[in-house]
């Protein structure tokens, strides 16, 4: 083994890391899951036994090397194990988004030609059965939770534990086969295939090699000093590259413990019980938490409210400095310690953040107020920038250099380059192998020297060397008068208001900018309750005149701030509507990771956009909606179009 120049200590695959962990951490917890009200724990040797049993069962079922094994379900240890079992027998795991409707699944399952599917429960079994006639390569399905499946035809259906038992029974016979298959895995064999959510067009299968995954896990674990004693909560979709790297890659590399919540609804309780030391959440989760805290503080008694406000103001002033180790006066430090005792400590405990050493947010821009709130509590929240094609990490913020408006410096081993049009390119050991069955797109994204286009426009800040992202490169355009149009920049500013959930700004090639706005039902609903405003639905609340006034004031505030920026001052929103429905991934308006799909929205709501530009004061529209079970319906509404004040740009006028 030592003759190989690659791999770390001869560890060339995820199963190899697993074997190492079972040997060097014989008693340490590897995976935990809350079930029947109790945290069930598997140590590394137990995990190895479970994974091996399933791998044996896979061979028994006829899984061949190079087969694709699709994994669909919520975060559960058994499903993570299924991925490693697949790797063990030379197959390639393909995790899918569990909330995808059958149609979307059918595309991915057909594209990779998955012969085997491992699912969580009846819901997923039903979806696959619904589309199985269109999946010529599909052969067998394994399920974890047997409830409701007793009466199903079991010709192509197997219970997970039964497959394991069958594997265990034939251990002596089949183990040599597994050992030999495992020995064939090298640093460049495929580790996993992940489908990108696709803001445009069909999802693409990103092939990641063992080299990508292990090198990235190693360097990122070292960057943040992750240790075997760390623990994380696995609650983000398994199909997302980040979850794979955190819950499988880094977990296998460092040997830390991955905890799976009891159900999606109990995530916050479970978070509090586990108190992870390493935590990742998209900005949306932090936003929701902050909103919840603020709403509950509104209901608190006067003294408690005063205490909270006083100490939070102090924390905002000195908290981030204390966290970054900058000098703070003794008195402020003392006051902060009192606050820790009275407010910050209990609050962190309630949120489940007591033990966090490293926290990350990524995926979208995070509001400075939200970011500062968590940092001022002493939570080491940082930002990173990455994508599936890079095996997550492109840039990240080192401890002590954390700011809300940058995404940090390039990660170890990553080279950055900004093209002339402002697009960010990178090259690293994490760069993906290819898009599966799509050489055209591969060539279009990755050049011969290994540089990958991110599709994002940004620049490297002078002095600090931090990368700042402006917008998706293809979304950046020009207004009719030639000024720069960067919708994301304005959208993010608007989304930082708790009352606004989602914004889509239009204005490319037009003389002025307009916007679609979704209100945040939790925040606005709470405000309505407080002000005795009755409402029966999202739709009714969204068109309430007082809500419209409130949103208008937010838009005008943002316009005033955008006007300060010489480069982007043309992006002020002159007219807007509050949409009658929440943008939804089920309707194709958002991706499964909740990114806005502009082109689809533009087509779908063309009539409303027309009204935004033709000066009319209201617009009637009918919109098709998809329910959770795939049925369709439609909602009709008349929307009020509001105009917002636009501010002149002093510099521009002076220049003329």
């Amino acid at each position: 083994m030592n003759t190989r120049s690659e791999g770390v200590n001869g560890l060339l695959s995820v199963p190899a890391l697993l074997h190492r962990n079972a040997k060097i951490f014989p008693t340490a917890p590897a995976y935990r899951e809350k079930e029947f009200g109790i945290w069930q724990t598997w140590t590394w040797p137990e995990t190895l036994e479970e994974i091996e049993a399933l791998a044996l069962g896979f061979v028994d079922l006829g899984v061949q090397e190079g087969d694709f094994v699709a994994i669909i379900g919520r975060n559960r240890p058994h499903l993570y194990w299924a991925m490693v079992s697949a790797q063990m027998v030379g197959a390639i795991p393909v995790p899918l988004y569990q909330d995808a409707v059958a149609e979307e699944m059918s595309y991915v399952l057909n594209h990779c030609g998955a012969r085997f599917v491992v699912v969580g429960d009846q819901e997923q079994v039903d979806k696959v059965i619904e589309i199985q006639d269109r999946l010529p390569e599909f052969e067998q399905m394994l399920y974890l939770d047997a409830r409701g499946l007793r009466k199903y035809d079991h010709a192509r259906l197997h219970q997970y534990s039964h497959v394991q038992d069958a594997g265990r029974a034939k251990r002596d016979e089949l183990l040599p086969e597994i050992t030999s298959r495992q020995a064939k895995l090298d640093y460049d064999s495929t580790c996993v295939m992940l489908y990108t959510s696709g803001t445009t067009g069909k999802p693409k299968g990103v092939v990641l090699s063992n080299r990508n995954v292990i090198e990235t896990s190693k360097s990122s674990s070292e960057f943040d000093d992750l240790r075997q004693t760390d623990s994380i909560l696995a609650y983000l979709p398994m199909a997302w590259v980040g979850d794979f790297i955190f819950s499988v890659g880094q977990a296998m590399w460092t040997g830390f413990c991955t905890n799976c919540p009891e159900s999606a609804d109990t995530m916050h309780t479970d978070l509090r019980e586990i108190g992870p030391t390493y935590y990742f959440a998209p900005p949306r989760v932090f936003e929701t938490q902050l909103t919840t805290v603020m709403i509950r503080m509104e209901d608190a008694g006067r003294f408690k409210k005063w205490l909270f406000d006083t100490f939070m103001a102090h924390a905002r002033r000195v908290g981030p400095d204390i966290l970054d180790g900058r000098p703070v006066s003794q008195w402020d430090r003392f006051k902060y310690n009192i606050g820790e005792l009275m407010i910050y400590g209990p609050l962190k405990n309630t949120l489940g953040f007591s033990k966090i050493r490293v926290g990350y947010t990524a995926g979208e821009a995070i509001g400075p107020e939200i970011f500062d709130f968590f940092r001022s509590l002493g939570i080491n929240l940082k930002q990173l920038y990455g994508q599936t094609e890079a095996t997550v990490f492109i840039t990240a913020q080192p401890d002590g250099e954390v700011r809300s408006d940058t995404v940090g410096v390039s990660c170890p081993g990553v080279e950055l380059r900004i093209a002339e049009n402002g697009e960010v390119f990178y090259r690293s050991p994490g760069v993906f192998v290819e898009y599966y069955k799509n050489p055209e797109s591969t060539a279009g994204t990755k050049d011969a020297e290994g540089w990958v286009a991110t599709g994002d426009a940004g620049f490297i800040e002078e002095g600090s060397g931090h990368l700042r992202i402006i917008d998706r490169a293809k979304d950046v355009g020009q207004m009719a008068d030639g000024s720069l149009f960067a919708p994301k920049y304005v959208e993010n500013k608007l989304k930082f208001f708790p009352n606004i959930l989602e914004v889509v700004v239009f204005g490319n090639d037009r003389s002025e900018c307009t916007a679609f706005i979704n209100i945040d039902l939790t925040a606005v609903g709470n405000w309505a309750e407080r002000n005795n405003i009755g409402y029966a639905s999202y739709q009714e609340l969204a068109r309430h005149p007082q809500v419209m006034d409130m949103i208008q004031s937010h838009v005008e505030e943002v316009n005033a701030s955008v006007a300060q920026d010489e480069m982007l001052s043309g992006c002020q929103v002159s007219r807007f509507v509050v949409l009658h429905k929440e943008l939804d991934a089920d309707d194709g308006e958002l991706t499964r990771t909740r990114k806005v799909r502009r082109r689809i929205i533009e087509e779908k709501f063309a009539d409303i956009i027309a009204a935004l530009y033709d000066g009319s004061s209201s617009v009637s529209t009918v919109t098709e909606v998809t329910y959770e079970d795939g049925r369709k319906g439609s909602i009709a509404a008349t929307l009020e179009v509001r105009s917002a004040e636009v501010f002149p740009v002093s510099q521009q006028i002076a220049a003329q």
Partner: protein
């Protein structure tokens, strides 16, 4: 097919066993009012048996006779092959009959978990003193019972509200908690009094799925009263139809659906 002494096989292939409970010529009077008039039917092991009928037909009275809360003036109740003497509700519970109520009867101030644990009371043998000191056998007993309760919580997907006081829950969830408490008793006969009353379509779908799953998973015999005809016809294996205290139909959903008396009772025909 239904008359076979040793049960029958349902359309979806489940085997229904022998008679668990038999009502023989039951008549129940409140003063001069005859709520139930000379009704006989049986409930077989493993089946879902529905009692339906228009308002005031005597369905709830019938359920109360089954649960032992009302003692009929005439007729006999046979349970597990023996004639059942008049008994107190707690004695009925000990015999393995559990129920839910039309108007939800939970302990509002207690958490969901505690409510479900009360369903285990008939399975707890330790005395007050040992329970209070909570050492040795009492602790082991509670752990074992908690495990059963947790399995039911998991089964009915109410983990997220485990520690929530019942008073704070919405109606649909309270109904589910009540079902959980009844199931915690591991009953051999489960009585459901209008399990879907007041629910929206989605909640009804959920509840139907849970009822079918309970029957499927635990093999529990279920007798239920329900207004929603669609639900009854989809769920149950056999249906008793009552009108004005009399039995006007008994059989599979299809047989009942085509029964002229039943159609008359539901669509309305003048009663002489």
């Amino acid at each position: 097919m239904l008359d076979q002494a040793d049960g029958y096989v349902t359309a979806d292939g489940r085997k229904i066993g022998s008679v668990v409970m038999e009502m023989r010529n039951i008549t129940l009077r409140f003063g001069g009012v005859e709520a139930i008039k000379d009704i006989s039917f049986d409930i077989r092991e493993g089946e879902i048996r529905a009692i339906i009928g228009p308002n005031g037909a005597g369905k709830s009275s019938m359920l109360n006779v089954i649960s032992g809360f009302y003692v009929p003036q005439d007729g006999e109740v046979w349970y597990k092959g023996a004639l059942r003497p008049p008994m107190k509700p707690y004695q009925v519970a000990r015999q393995g009959i559990a129920r839910t109520f039309q108007n939800i009867a939970l302990f509002e101030g207690m958490s969901v978990l505690d409510n479900v644990m009360t369903g285990r009371l008939t399975h707890m043998k330790r005395g007050l003193w040992q329970q209070a000191v909570w050492r040795g056998p009492a602790e082991a007993e509670e752990t074992a019972n908690r495990e059963v309760a947790e399995r039911i919580i998991d089964f009915l997907e109410i983990q997220a509200i485990r520690k929530t006081p019942v008073a704070r829950l919405p109606y649909g969830l309270k109904k589910r908690v009540e079902l959980a408490r009844a199931l915690a008793a591991e009953p051999s006969l489960l009585l459901l009094d209008e399990p879907m009353a007041g629910m929206n379509v989605e909640e009804k779908e959920d509840m139907s799925r849970f009822i079918l799953d309970v029957n499927d998973e635990f093999g529990t015999t279920i007798a239920l009263i329900e207004h929603d005809m669609g639900v009854v016809m989809d769920l149950s294996d056999r249906v008793v139809v009552m009108d004005y205290g009399k039995k006007i139909g008994d059989g599979t959903p299809d047989e009942v659906r085509n029964n002229q008396d039943v159609i008359d009772a539901y669509l309305g025909v003048s009663h002489d």
